[in-house]
């Protein structure tokens, strides 16, 4: 396994959902720096076309319900040519956690995800403005109830606490003034849509999707004092002030570091975060600049950073499906793919609270671990899957009559990632491979039994501790 391949596989696990060997070879021919640039400037995505999805899946055409909407996004993640675009959208979904349970409006949630794709790499200031105008967010945090004559602080509070600066960097008065600035920021037909959402009403003709509306006559245009500045601030002015704050740069950089680099932040991590904050200000708050600094940092490229994050359930499911080559075309029971994310503790579009999910080692408990292992092992031990067949072809390439267990294990680990495993894990895998005997080939090829034998080993590798780490 070359160092370059190992580093590139690390980058693609973090900035995407892992790479198939074809994808990895393409990245290696581009080189690390160019690959980072391409990930950060993705252009138009290639993914499963909407028309095919809508024709086949009535639920994903209507997008009335959670499972269909979740499956719709999973199709995009599994088939996209722009993995970082989706991985970053998933990050924003966790940070600005907006959930189906209160909204009962899956289309609005997916529109929010589209907004993350559109603004997610750009200015954090612009992203926060769009977030404040997002109909799903407005209803999720009650800004439709935030009126000139009677403010509702919910959105204003979370904008400061959970979405930008973090607690301890503003006062209760700042929250009130912030809320006042966002009065009148609501959604079209807010009264009717609010009643429908609260009753989960789909009648008479299904959901009616939402869009933003500004009601000038419900906006408090009076003077406000916010974070030491005074003016007749509207919502955009408030976001302008927030974006320039040092705590905002630290908050954003730290969250990006934890999501893309390492669950734990040590001294060396803090140095990277400082450099990310500098990039934030130098670039005019650009998220892509902050990420570029992270991905090109020595820390990110170091051995210490690798396998230091527990894969989130969605990452795990999508990465496995991509590796297996599953769900590349409309598939009858794709909504079960969404259900897997729920069973593993990260129901897509259904975060438990506005705080999102608790990540890191908290992803793993005995129940969710069993779900993870069962799913990955089942997908990857199926020799009929295109991706598994590709691994088998590569593993057997260069051999003619047979492959010994040890070589088979090392070769599978290589072509599944490369995946680095500990000595104990490798020993266990060799023991398993030995229990199946040498892999017999005929003119360098496996028969059905041989393919199943390799696939069982691939499934076993997907059951290891290391496979759960990114």
């Amino acid at each position: 396994m070359s160092q370059d391949a190992s580093l590139m596989a690390h980058l693609m696990r973090r900035a995407g959902f892992g790479a198939t060997r074809n994808e990895l070879e393409e990245c290696l021919s581009d080189g690390y720096k160019t690959t980072v640039d391409k990930l950060l400037n993705p252009g138009e995505s290639n993914h499963m076309p909407d028309d095919l999805i809508r024709r086949y899946h009535v639920d994903q055409s209507e997008l009335r319900q959670l499972d269909g909407a979740g499956a719709y996004w999973l199709y995009r993640m599994v088939t996209t040519s722009n993995p970082l675009e989706e991985k970053l959208a998933l990050f924003w979904h966790g940070l600005f956690a907006t959930g189906y349970a209160k909204l009962n409006q899956a289309r609005a949630l997916l529109n929010q995800i589209d907004m993350f794709r559109q603004y997610g790499f750009g200015s954090f200031r612009d992203l926060l403005v769009e977030l404040s105008k997002d109909p799903a967010m407005i209803l999720w945090l009650d800004n439709n109830e935030n009126h000139k004559e009677a403010i509702n602080e919910n959105f204003g509070r979370e904008l400061l606490e959970l979405f930008s600066m973090g607690i301890g960097n503003y006062s209760e008065d700042d929250i009130k003034e912030c809320a006042k600035a966002f009065t009148g920021w609501t959604l079209k037909n807010a009264e009717y849509m609010s009643v429908r959402a609260s009753k989960d009403s789909i009648w008479p003709y299904g959901r009616i999707a939402w869009h933003y509306e500004y009601r000038a006559n419900d906006h408090d245009s009076g003077e406000k004092k916010f974070l030491g500045e005074v003016g007749n601030f509207n919502g955009e002015d408030i976001v302008d002030i927030i974006a320039t704050q040092e705590p905002t740069a630290r908050f954003l950089s730290t969250r990006l570091f934890q999501y893309f680099a390492s669950d734990e932040v040590g001294d060396d991590g803090n140095q990277v975060i400082k450099a990310m904050m500098d990039s934030y200000f130098e670039s005019g708050f650009k998220v892509s600049a902050v990420l570029r600094t992270l991905f090109n940092s020595d820390y990110f490229k170091s051995e210490k950073c690798r396998y230091s994050r527990v894969k989130g359930p969605v990452e795990s499911v999508v990465g496995t499906a991509r590796l297996a080559g599953s769900y590349q075309e409309p598939t009858l029971d794709v909504h079960f793919l969404w259900a897997q994310t729920m069973f593993m503790g990260q129901g897509l579009l259904a975060p438990p609270t506005v705080e999102g999910w608790h990540e890191g080692v908290e992803w793993i408990d005995s129940g969710s671990l069993v779900e993870r292992i069962n799913f990955a092992a089942k997908e990857l031990s199926d020799p009929t899957k295109y991706g598994v067949q590709d691994i088998i072809r590569r593993v057997t390439s260069g051999y003619r009559d047979f492959i010994q267990p040890e070589n088979l294990v090392d070769s599978c680990l290589d072509f599944m990632g490369p995946i680095q495993v500990g000595a104990d894990t490798r020993e266990g895998l060799i023991e398993f491979a030995e229990s199946q005997g040498d892999l017999q080939l005929k003119n360098g090829k496996t028969d059905a039994g041989g393919s199943a034998q390799v696939a069982r080993l691939i499934g076993m590798i997907a059951s290891t501790r290391e496979y759960q780490l990114a």
Binding site: V58, E62, D67, W203, P204, Y205, G206, H211
Partner: protein, 339 residues
């Protein structure tokens, strides 16, 4: 006769979303067929949460819900998985295609299973995703064989007669064809879905004409899903990707365009009588809003504009010149009168 005008008047909306497993209302309807007695048979494709109740519901133009039949989700006799389209044949039997089981099932108008044919394959008499279906007065059955990119022709009981077409963009070639309609001379019109056009053939599969592939926006179809022809030879196309119905004369010129104007069905009115809080807030709402630029495409506009067609998958014309537009995403049928 070539007509340059047609008068189409909105009549009513039938339907309400059905969130359960039976009774009044529709669950992602995919097609209608008008029975021998004039009743409206509605094919409920159903989403995954309701698929065990996959069924045909029967109502009439007066919005009386009459009865329903279904045998559950699966590939057993009478069961369906992903039903697409249906048609009554000359004997008054109802034929339903299923793109997942690759089967045509024949039912009586009461729902009794009378027969079936088809299985997966690409040879004569086999299917890969049967979709649109129509029958002529002699009982001959025409079926779009979607993923084999061809049309197949059968006897009334499933005896293979002929086929034409292959994958491509040329004349007589198809890309995932969906709906199918016949005119009074048994010419065959195919909604050539992923080629964004309708192709016309004679009953033996000889290519005659292409409609809707114009550069002119009003004439340009996007992913047409269904086609139906009136007594004057005018062609009604469910322009699915544009969320509209386009009406062409026999020369292929657009003579009318419908975008939907749904009102409350009787069933919807009953709902609001029981839910006055929703009606009160609805009455102060604008259900025809101006949609912001970033959502300004047909799909998003229709998702936000309740009266507009959203997912118009099927168009059918009955013997009284009524046009039925089936909307999968809105669980209803908008009915128009052609004058």
């Amino acid at each position: 006769m070539i007509t340059n005008t047609v008068s189409i008047r909105y009549l009513k909306t039938i339907g309400i979303v059905n969130n359960g497993s039976n009774g009044r209302g529709f669950a992602n309807p995919y097609d209608v067929a008008i029975g021998p007695e004039g009743n409206i048979f509605v094919l409920n494709r159903c989403d995954p949460a309701r698929r065990n109740a996959i069924r045909v519901g029967v109502c009439n133009i007066n919005e009386e819900y009459l009865y329903e039949f279904g045998y559950g989700f699966g590939d057993g006799d009478g069961q369906m998985m992903l039903p697409v389209a249906m048609a009554f044949d000359a004997k008054g039997r109802l034929l339903i295609t299923d793109e997942h089981t690759n089967r045509i099932t024949i039912y009586s108008d009461e729902g009794e299973v009378l027969g079936k044919w088809g299985h997966k394959g690409e040879s004569e008499g086999e299917f890969n995703g049967p979709a649109g279906i129509a029958t002529d007065s002699s009982g001959t059955v025409y079926i779009c064989d979607q993923r084999n990119h061809r049309v197949q022709k059968y006897t009334a009981d499933g005896g293979f007669l002929a086929q034409w077409g292959s994958q491509g963009t040329g004349e007589g070639e198809f890309n995932l064809p969906w709906g199918l309609g016949l005119d009074s001379e048994n010419n065959v019109y195919i909604a050539d879905w992923r080629n964004d056009r309708v192709q016309k053939f004679d009953s033996n599969g000889h290519y005659l004409k292409t409609i809707g592939d114009s550069e002119v926006k009003e004439e340009h179809l996007v992913r047409p899903s269904a086609v139906s022809i009136d007594g004057n030879g005018n062609i009604y196309v469910a322009d699915w990707g544009n969320e509209r119905v386009q009406v062409f004369n026999s020369e292929g010129e657009v003579i009318a365009s419908l975008k939907g104007e749904a009102t409350l069905s009787d069933w919807a009115k009953d709902f609001f009588e029981s839910n006055p809080d929703e009606m009160e807030t609805r009455e102060i709402s604008d259900l025809n809003p101006d949609v912001p630029d970033h959502l300004n495409n047909p799909y998003h506009i229709s998702s936000q504009t309740e009266p507009f067609f959203w997912g118009p998958v099927s168009v059918n014309i009955d013997s009284d010149n009524r046009l039925y537009v089936v909307e999968s995403n809105r669980h209803r049928i908008q009915v128009y009168e052609i004058e």
